[in-house]
């Protein structure tokens, strides 16, 4: 798993546990029904709940908005890699890059929308692709740009992450989606 996926997992599990506890409490509460009418109080508190939710979302917004993947620059020492995607394979040139030096991927499609999903590095013992590191969509007729720095040497796989037709599942490391990263 990538770091982001780990964060999501932890946050989601905590949220689900809290949500489940509340659901369970509401379910069990019906075994001791209230005779007095408290609907008025609860309705008023709904405004407080609105504020709580809005603040929580605002905090999440502030905490994450600086990590959007847009508008990153690669710097003068960059390595430019051209990626051409087409039904159903990849052309990556050059497919050998150096670690710890920024890579600027310039991505194009010859036909339909594709998704550039970067996985790695390959686990040498199991042979499995590494975690999904980052991804970007490739729109036909446009040039996409993805800035990424590899910190570990090894073999990285590129898999298609936008449905592109009957060979979508073949757009992976066996059809050109392979990048080798070596120590600088």
């Amino acid at each position: 798993m990538s770091h982001t996926a780990v964060i999501i997992t932890v946050a989601y599990v905590i949220a689900v546990v809290i949500g489940s506890a509340i659901s369970f409490a509401i379910w069990r509460s019906t075994t001791r029904p209230l005779d007095e009418d408290r609907a008025g109080t609860w309705s008023l508190r709904e405004t407080a709940w609105l504020v709580v939710v809005a603040l929580a979302l605002f905090a999440l917004l502030l905490g994450t908005i600086f990590y959007v993947p847009y508008g990153k620059t690669a710097g003068p020492d960059k390595q430019v890699v051209k990626v051409v995607s087409a039904q159903f394979g990849w052309q990556i040139d050059p497919a050998l890059v150096r670690a710890d030096r920024t890579v600027e991927f310039l991505l194009q499609s010859r036909d339909v929308n594709h998704g550039f999903g970067l996985y790695g590095p390959v686990d040498e013992r199991s042979g499995d692709a590494g975690p999904l590191l980052t991804q970007v969509q490739i729109v036909p007729g446009r040039t996409g740009r993805l800035v990424w720095t590899f910190d570990k040497p090894g073999i990285y796989y590129v898999r298609c992450l936008e449905f592109c037709g009957k060979g979508h599942q073949r757009m992976d490391e066996t059809t050109g989606g392979r990048i080798e990263v070596r120590r600088a």
Partner: protein
């Protein structure tokens, strides 16, 4: 108020919508099981394009043909229940909707399963025109037309809903002005009682989400209809290419609100039924009207959260996407407030727990869980890790099946007796169905979340082998989930046939069980029989898989590459059957990457066959079998003979 005649009209509408959508669920749900089965068991693997065609039919069928169609139908009965009769223009629209939807879904079934259209339910432009030999212009044109019919069904439904909710008498509105009446139906009377005056009482809460979605789906659907018309014209060759990025925006302009076409009518049902089972009014402050006002605006301004990872150079897409993260967050508010209201309506009430109300309650839990995973997707920085992985598939199945689906089941159990006058066939069968659906669904969809966090790509007919373990674990759960739905279908059919006599209701209008369940009843025996049958089928399937694996030669076909002795290079003849090779050339999609004028192929990714001096039989056989760089290996997909045939065809037909 609704008189008996109006109730009869609404009853007829809701029953027709529910009947058709339940039938669609049976068919498209089955496709879902086959899809997962094909991923889990190599021996059960279907052809790649057929898998995608089934995926297209499953997506549109369950989401629109079942989920949306069912809640659209329930809306008529809810409106009648809160005093809004459907009549005149509204009724004509409601009836038109049914026909358009049924024809649209039928067209989708034909074009996907029979004509091979497999561009997924989002048919991301220009994919419909790049079928790679799997489908042609006719399929694209007819599919687009079918989806257009379903889209028009949504628009006519909206007109019917808006006509019904603007009914002056039912609203008790003071003003004749149609905009003021619409304002009343949106709940603005709670915020501005003078401008949106009613006499004597304000609008029932259940009306508000219906008015909201009635407005939004017209705004959302019309541009998509334009895109569909364009696709029809393009498939006929009358217009050229559209702008792909623009088309993507148009698609999601519709694609987000259509999710709420399922949710908002479902909320109306919750607002109406939960208070009935709780025996108290909906706990709601005026603030809920603010949330719905946010919803009516934000719902059509958040489409770009589906394309957060589209930001090609020289476009404004990155700015649009960034602006839409806070907009998307604001859409959490109506859900958060609704869950609060419904939660407190149940809290310490004399809630009557039946299969129906339990399904509704589980539906609320499903809503919460789907909402939480939705917040992850709505956050750009987090979306990078999960976009187009199976996490998304887990998220929207939580939403579609464990929120909307359970609501539809609960509403069916709650309302079928009052809609048909017949008692629910078996309360016990319903209990088993509701609990199995919730627990099985949590597990089955939860496994998708896990796979997605591990990077498993979505919409892959065959997943990379590293994900196989969880896929196989999930398969038995899928079978149990499907088996539980059989209980639902059987229960509904037997209820409609009147097997348990006339319905009776308690003082809150909650249907009473037909007979106190005692021990080993006939319905229980039937339920057990269904489960045993499914268990046996599963056992046979697993057994067959194991036997197949034993006798299948222990994995992989042994491929011997001819050592170049048989033929010499330079475009000589080869030993295979060129006619079969020609078929394989088309069916394997060679032409999408390679040029071969004889086959009308002009692919540019790989080397051209025409005028290629290096073309020899040995080279073709070696490359096709083992692959190289972008060229995939076909050694495990085509037999040795097939590859020889293909080589023969290429050598015969390539221009020298």
């Amino acid at each position: 108020m609704t008189d008996e005649r109006s109730r009869g009209i609404a009853r007829g509408l809701t029953l027709r919508y529910l009947g058709a959508s339940t039938a669609i669920l049976a068919a498209s749900g089955l496709l879902g099981v086959v899809l997962r089965w094909s991923q889990a068991v190599p021996q059960a693997r279907v052809g790649d394009n057929f898998w995608y065609a089934m995926m297209t039919a499953h997506g549109l069928g369950t989401f629109v043909g079942w989920g949306a169609f069912a809640v659209m139908g329930l809306a008529w009965w809810v409106l009648a229940g809160v005093g809004f009769p459907t009549r005149g223009f509204g009724l004509a629209m409601a009836r038109t909707t049914w026909w358009l939807m049924v024809l649209g879904v039928a067209g989708v079934v034909v074009t996907t399963l029979l004509m091979g259209f497999g561009a997924s339910w989002v048919f991301l432009y220009p994919l419909p025109f790049f079928g790679a030999g799997a489908w042609g212009a006719w399929a694209t044109g007819l599919f687009s037309f079918s989806v257009l019919l379903a889209g028009l069904a949504i628009v006519t439904w909206c007109f019917g809903i808006l006509h019904t909710v603007c009914n002056k008498e039912a609203l008790h509105a003071v003003s004749d002005n149609v905009f003021k009446r619409l304002g009343v139906s949106l709940g603005w009377g709670y915020l501005m009682p003078r401008t949106f005056a009613t006499n004597p009482k304000p609008v029932p809460y259940a009306v508000i989400p219906l008015a909201v979605i009635g407005i939004d789906m017209i705004i959302a659907t019309l541009p998509l209809a334009g895109l569909l018309v364009w696709q029809i014209l393009q498939s006929a060759g009358w217009v050229g290419d559209a702008n792909a990025l623009f088309a993507k925006n148009i698609l999601w302009w519709f694609g987000h609100p259509v999710v709420y076409l399922l949710l908002f009518p479902a909320v109306a049902v919750y607002y109406w039924l939960i208070p009935r089972y709780a025996g108290r009014d909906l706990v709601a402050g005026h603030v809920i009207a603010i949330a719905w006002t946010v919803a009516v605006i934000a719902n059509v301004l958040v489409w770009a959260h589906h394309i957060y990872l589209d930001y090609p150079q020289g476009t404004l897409q990155a700015q649009i996407n960034t602006a839409m993260q806070p907009m998307t967050f604001s859409l959490v508010l109506p859900s958060a407030l609704s869950l609060y209201s419904l939660g407190f309506t149940i809290y310490r009430s004399r809630f009557r727990w039946t299969p129906a109300s339990t399904a509704l309650f589980f539906g609320l839990v499903g809503w919460l869980l789907a909402g939480l995973s939705g917040v992850v997707n709505a956050t750009i920085a987090l979306d990078v890790a999960v976009h187009n992985t199976l996490w998304i598939v887990g998220h929207f199945h939580h939403m579609a099946m464990l929120n909307i689906g359970l609501l539809i089941f609960g509403a069916t159990y709650a309302l079928l007796p009052e809609l048909t006058g017949k008692a629910l066939y078996s309360e016990r069968m319903a209990w088993v169905h509701v609990w199995t659906t919730f627990v099985g669904g949590m597990l089955f969809f939860g496994l998708w979340l896990v796979q997605g966090l591990d990077g498993a790509p979505r919409r892959w007919s065959v997943l990379p082998s590293q994900y196989d373990t969880i896929t196989r674990i999930s398969l038995p759960v899928a079978f149990v989930l499907a088996a539980a739905q059989l209980l639902f279908f059987w229960n509904v059919i037997q209820t409609v046939r009147g097997k348990s006599g006339v319905a009776t209701f308690d003082e809150r209008g909650i249907p009473e069980p037909a007979a106190p369940p005692r021990g080993w009843t006939a319905p229980m025996a039937e339920a057990a029989l269904v489960l045993v049958a499914v268990a046996l089928a599963m056992a046979f399937a697993v057994g067959g898989y194991l036997v197949g694996r034993e006798t299948g030669g222990g994995g992989g076909t042994t491929v011997t590459v001819p050592a170049g002795g048989g033929t010499t290079g330079g475009g000589g003849s080869a030993t295979g059957d060129p006619a079969n090779g020609a078929k394989l050339f088309a069916s394997s999609g060679c032409g999408s990457c390679h040029t071969l004028a004889a086959a009308g192929a002009a692919g540019e990714l790989g080397p051209s066959f025409d005028g290629n001096p290096r073309l020899t039989e040995a080279l073709v056989v070696a490359r096709v079998t083992k692959g190289k760089n972008a060229m995939p290996a076909f050694g495990d997909k085509l037999s040795e003979e097939d590859i020889q045939d293909l080589a023969a065809y290429l050598l015969q037909s390539a221009k020298k």
